[in-house]
Symmetry: D2
Subunit: 333 residues, 4 copies
C-alpha cells in the first residue's frame, strides 16, 4: 500500500517510522507539511518524495491511501478532499474540532457510498483493553453498570489549557468506553477538585468527567495531567456480577531498600507504542480486503460531540445533554 | 474495666464475645435487651448479669463503662443517660439517626465537661487504613486532591432500602475519609446508575456519592450492595505528587485451571474482624488513662449530618450543602 | 491460667507483654532469670513475682503452666523438670540443641502419660500459612510435589555463625513444611552460593537447603540473612494440578516518583506479631480444655534432627539421611 | 533481505508467516522440506519458491540469508553449509544436539573469519527479561548470588521423554541465564521429586536442575512439563542488595464469584509471540548493518554442553562438571 502522509510534526514523523519500519505491506511514498524542512526530514526516513501541498499529495496518483497528522483545525478539509478523491484516509484524533465539520464528513462519506475514513483512536488496539473487551463480551462480569477511569500525565506544557483535558485527553476514554460499552453517551457533567499547586495557575487540573450512557451506565474519568509520578491509565468496569480492571504494563518487581516496586511508564508513546503499531498494521491490512475496520467517521464525530459537551459542562457547572443524532445505518456494525 | 452492654443483637453479641474473649483489661458484667432471652444468651457468654432495662444498667454501680449496641433510634437517649451518669460510653454507629439528637449529645457532653462518648467507626482501626494514613501524614503523596472509593457487598436483605447506602453503608467511608483527610465535607451529590437486575426492584443500587471537602478535595464513593462477587472495600487517595491505595486483605495466590487467583472476603465481619478487636481494645486501654481516644461524639454527629445530606441529595438530584456548625473547641484534636 | 516464665531476655519479655496485655485467660505470676535485674524488669511489666531459680519457679504451687524462653542449651533440663512436675510447658524453639536431649523429653513425656509440651513454632499460627494449608487440604493444588522457600533477613549480628542458618533460621521452614505437607523429611543437602560481600567474611551466607520428604516431595529453602532490603518470607507449594503462594503482608501500594511500591517488613517481630499472639492465645485456650494442641515435643525433636542433619550436610557437602525413629503412637494426630 | 527457509514444520511455518507478515525488510523467497507438500504449503504463505533440497536452497544465488528450522540432528550440516557459502544463518535451537558438532561449527565460522550464525534463543528478546537485564546492569539488585526459575507447561505429548526437560525445555533458561548473568556455568546437578501421577509413567516429571556459575552463583530451575494449569515461566534473581522478578504477562484482574483472578497463558507461542517477532526483526536489521547481533554459535554450543551435562547429571545422580573450553576471542562481546 503506497501511503502519503500530511503533517510531519511529532506524531507524523512517528507514523512515518512506524509505516516504514514496523508495519508490513505499506510504504510511505509522499510527505507534505506546511514547513518544507519538516516534510523533507520525515520523507528522508522513508525515502519518500516531498509534495508541496496537502491537495497535491491527495491528488497524487502514486498515493493509494492518506495519513492525516496535520494540525487539528485542518483535518476536516483534508479528510473531505480524500473522500472526494475516493482514497482511504487515516486521520489522527480528533477527526474535527467542531462537530459541524464532523457532520460534513459523515454526509460526504455516505454520499460517496463507501467507508473511507478511519480515526486514530489507538486504545482500541491496546492489548489490555482488548482483553477487557473479551471478558465483557464473554459475560465475565455481567451487564456493565459503572466504569471508573483515571488518565494521568506527569506534566503538560504551558500551552495546555483547561479545555484540553476534555478535547485532547479524556477524548481517548470517551472513545474507548463507547467501544467497550457498545453504546452512546447521553449526558456529561464535570466536577473540579482544588487544582494542584505543582503547575501553572491558569490550569484547572485535575478535572473529573461524569458521564451517563444511553442505558444508564455511569462513568467517571479523573483527568490529572500534572500528577508528576508517571503516565498512568486506569480503567475498571463494574458489572452486575463482577469487575474487570485494565492491567498495568508488565514490569519486573524489584525488592530493594525496604520496598517492593515496579516502574510506572512515563509517557504515552511508551505506554501505547504497541497499540499504535497494531492500529496502523490493521488499518493497512483492512485496506487490502476492502474498507477500514477501525474507528469510523461516526466514532470520530461522536467523540467530538461528547468532548465538546464536556467543555460546556465544565464552563456551566451543570449536566449537559450530549446532542447526538441517531447513528446512520451506514455506520452500523 | 467492668462493662455493661445494651442491645444483644448480632453486633452486641459479637462485642460481648470480643470483650470477654479477646480484649484484655475488660469484662462484661451486665447485659440488657428488650428481649430478655437474647439478653440472657449474650450474658451467658461472659458470665454476666442480665439487667432488665437500659436505664438500670447505666445506673448500676457495678458498671464502669457502657457499650450501646441497641436499635439506632434509641442510641441518643441511652448515650445521654450515660453522659448524665458520667460513664464512658461506646456507641455503635450511627451515634444518632437525626442530626438534632446529635447536637443534644454534643451539648450534654460539653456541659458535663469531659469526653465520655466514643462512636463505633471501626475502619480507623483497620491496619490498611492506618498504613494509608501514615503514608499521607508523612507527605508520601502530597496534598490530597481526590479520593476514589468503592464499598461493595455481595447482597443485602429485602429490608435494606434506598437510603441505607448512605446512612448505613457509605457512612463508614464518610467517617474514615474525614479522619484520613483531616477536614469536613462541604457538599454532597448523588448520581444513580441503572440499577442491577440481580436483586429487588425497589432498591436503587448501585449509587455513587460525590463529596467535596472544605478545601476542595473531591471524593467519589461507589456503593454497590448487591455486587454478588464479594465484600470489597476499595480506596485510592490521589495527592499532588502520588497516589496511595488501600490494600486488599492478604490471601494466597493460587494458580489452577488456567487462572491465578486469590479469594475475595465475603462479609464485613471477616474483613474488619481485627479492626473491631483493636477498636475495643484501644477504647478499654484509653479509659484507663483518661478519656476515650477514638471517634468522638463530634465525629458521630458530623457523619450523620453528611449521610443525611446525601439522602436529601439523592432525593432531589442536586448538590446539597452539608450544614455543619463550626467544630467546638471542646472537640479539637 | 497462672503462668511462670523462665528467661527474661528479649523474647521472654515479649511473651510477658503478650501474656499480660494481649492474651486473655492468662496472667504472668512469676518470672525467673539468671540475671535478677532482667527478671525484675520483666516481672514488673506483669506485676509478677521474681523467683530466684528455674527449679523453684517450676515447683511453685502458684504456677500452673510454664513458659521457657531461656538460653537454648538449658531448655532440655527445664522442660524435663516441668514434665516431672506435671505442668504444661511452652518452650521456645529449639526444644533442644542436641537430638539426644529431645529423645529424653519424648521418653519422659510418654512415661508421664500425658501431653505437656508445646514448642514455639509460631509460623503454624500465621494467617498466610493457615490459608495455604486450607488450600492444600481442600485439594486446591493437588498432591504437593515441590516447595520453594526463601527466608531473608536484612542482616544479622557478628555472633551469627554459619550453622545458624539451619538451626536458628531454616528450622522455621523445617517445622512449617512438616506441618503443611504432613510428613517427615528423609534427606537433606546444602548447596552454597558465593557469599555476599556485604557482611562478615566468616559467615557463609546465603545457603540453600535441599530437602526430600518421605514421599519424595522436594523442598528448597534459600536462607539469606544479610539480604539488606528487608525481612522477607516466601513459600510456594507446587502440586500436581496447581501452585499456592504465601502472600506478602498487606501494604498500601504507593505510586510516586516513577514507581509503584509497597513496603517490605523489616524484622520478624513485625512480620509474625499476630502469629505470636495467636500462638500463645491458643496455647492458653488449649490448656483449659486439656492438652496443648500446638507443635508437640515430637515436632520439636524432629525439627532438631533435620536441622542438625543440615549442619552435617553443609560440612560434608553430601546428601545426609535424616535419622528419625518411627513416630510414637503417643504423638500421632 | 531475501530469505530461504529449511524445514517447514510448525515452527518453520510460524517463521514464514512472521517473516512475510510482521517482519519488515525481509521476504521469504525459497522454502525446502523433506516433505514436498509441507514445503509447498509454507511457500504458498509467502509466495516463495519450493526448492527440493537444503543444499540447493543454501546454494541458491537468490537466497541472501537462511533460516534453519529443520529436525535438530541435521542442523549441524545445514549450518556448516551456510558458513561454507558465506551466508548468514538463523538456526532454531538447539544449534546441535551433539557438542562435537557445535565445535565443528565454531571452527568453521572462525576459519571463515566472519560471524554468520545466530541461534534461536528467543527469550533474550522478551520484554520482561530485557527489563530484568536493565535492572541488573544498572546495579539495581547488586551482584547476583542466586536465581530461582520455574518452567512449566500444561502438558507434553507421549514422545516427550525424560532427557527433554534439559535439552528441549531448560535449555531456554540455560541460555537466558548465561546472558543475564554474563558468565558460564561450571557444574550441574539434577534432583528428582516424585513424579506427577497426571501423565505418562515413563516420564520423570518434574525435575530440578541445580547449576553453579563460574563465579559461584547458584541457579535452580524447576522443569514441570505437566503442571496442567498453564504455561508459566518464573524467574527471580537474588543479588547482594535486592531481588528482581520476571513479570507475568499483563492481564486484566477480574473479580467474580468470590475470587480476584487473571488468566495464565496456556502455551509458549502465546507467551513469547512478541519475543519471536522481535528476534527475527532484529536479526534482519542486524544483517543490513553487518553481522548477526543475537545469540552466537558460541551461545548455541555452550547451551548444548550444559544441557548435555544435565542429562548426564540426572542419569548419574551426581554433580557433573560443565566441560567448556575457553571462549575464543572471536566470540567475545
Ligand atoms: Mg512498512
Ligand atoms: Mg476481656
Ligand atoms: Mg492476659
Ligand atoms: Mg517481511
Amino acid at each position: 500500500m503506497k501511503i502519503g502522509l500530511i503533517g510531519a510534526g511529532w506524531i507524523g514523523e512517528e507514523h512515518v517510522k512506524r509505516l516504514a519500519g514496523r508495519v508490513t505491506g505499506a510504504e510511505v511514498v509522499a510527505v507534505s507539511d506546511i514547513d518544507p524542512e519538516r516534510a523533507a526530514a520525515a520523507a528522508a526516513i522513508a525515502g519518500a518524495r516531498v509534495v508541496d501541498t496537502a491537495e497535491r499529495l491527495i491528488a497524487d496518483p502514486g498515493v493509494e491511501a492518506v495519513v492525516v497528522t496535520s494540525w487539528a483545525p485542518v483535518h476536516a478539509e483534508q479528510v473531505l478532499a480524500c473522500i472526494a478523491a475516493g482514497k482511504p484516509v487515516f486521520c489522527e484524533k480528533p477527526l474535527t474540532t467542531e462537530a459541524a465539520d464532523g457532520l460534513r464528513i459523515l454526509d460526504a462519506e455516505q454520499a460517496r457510498g463507501e467507508r473511507l475514513v478511519q480515526v486514530g483512536f489507538m486504545r482500541r488496539y491496546d492489548a489490555g483493553y482488548r482483553q477487557m473487551k473479551a471478558v465483557l463480551d464473554a459475560g465475565g462480569v455481567g451487564v456493565p453498570l459503572m466504569v471508573h477511569c483515571a488518565h494521568r500525565n506527569p506534566t503538560q506544557p504551558e500551552s495546555y489549557h483547561s479545555d484540553k483535558p476534555m478535547v485532547d485527553t479524556a477524548v481517548h476514554e470517551i472513545d474507548v468506553l463507547r467501544w467497550l460499552l457498545g453504546e452512546e453517551f447521553a449526558t456529561v457533567q464535570v466536577v473540579v477538585p482544588r487544582s494542584t499547586s505543582q503547575r501553572f495557575p491558569h490550569l484547572v487540573d485535575p478535572q473529573i468527567l461524569l458521564l451517563e450512557t444511553a442505558s444508564g451506565a455511569r462513568v467517571d474519568v479523573e483527568v490529572f495531567v500534572n500528577c508528576r509520578y508517571g503516565y498512568d491509565i486506569q480503567c475498571e468496569i463494574v458489572g452486575e456480577t463482577g469487575t474487570v480492571r485494565l492491567p498495568d504494563p508488565a514490569a519486573p518487581l524489584v525488592r530493594s531498600e525496604g520496598r517492593a516496586s515496579y516502574a510506572v511508564v512515563q509517557d504515552f508513546p511508551s505506554r501505547f507504542a504497541d497499540a499504535f503499531d497494531t492500529e496502523l498494521q490493521e488499518w493497512v491490512d483492512s485496506l487490502r480486503s476492502g474498507v477500514p475496520a477501525g474507528p469510523s467517521a461516526w466514532d470520530g464525530y461522536a467523540a467530538t460531540v461528547v468532548a465538546n459537551a464536556a467543555v460546556e459542562a465544565r464552563r456551566t457547572g451543570g449536566v449537559v445533554a450530549v446532542d447526538l443524532p441517531g447513528r446512520p445505518a451506514f455506520y452500523q456494525e
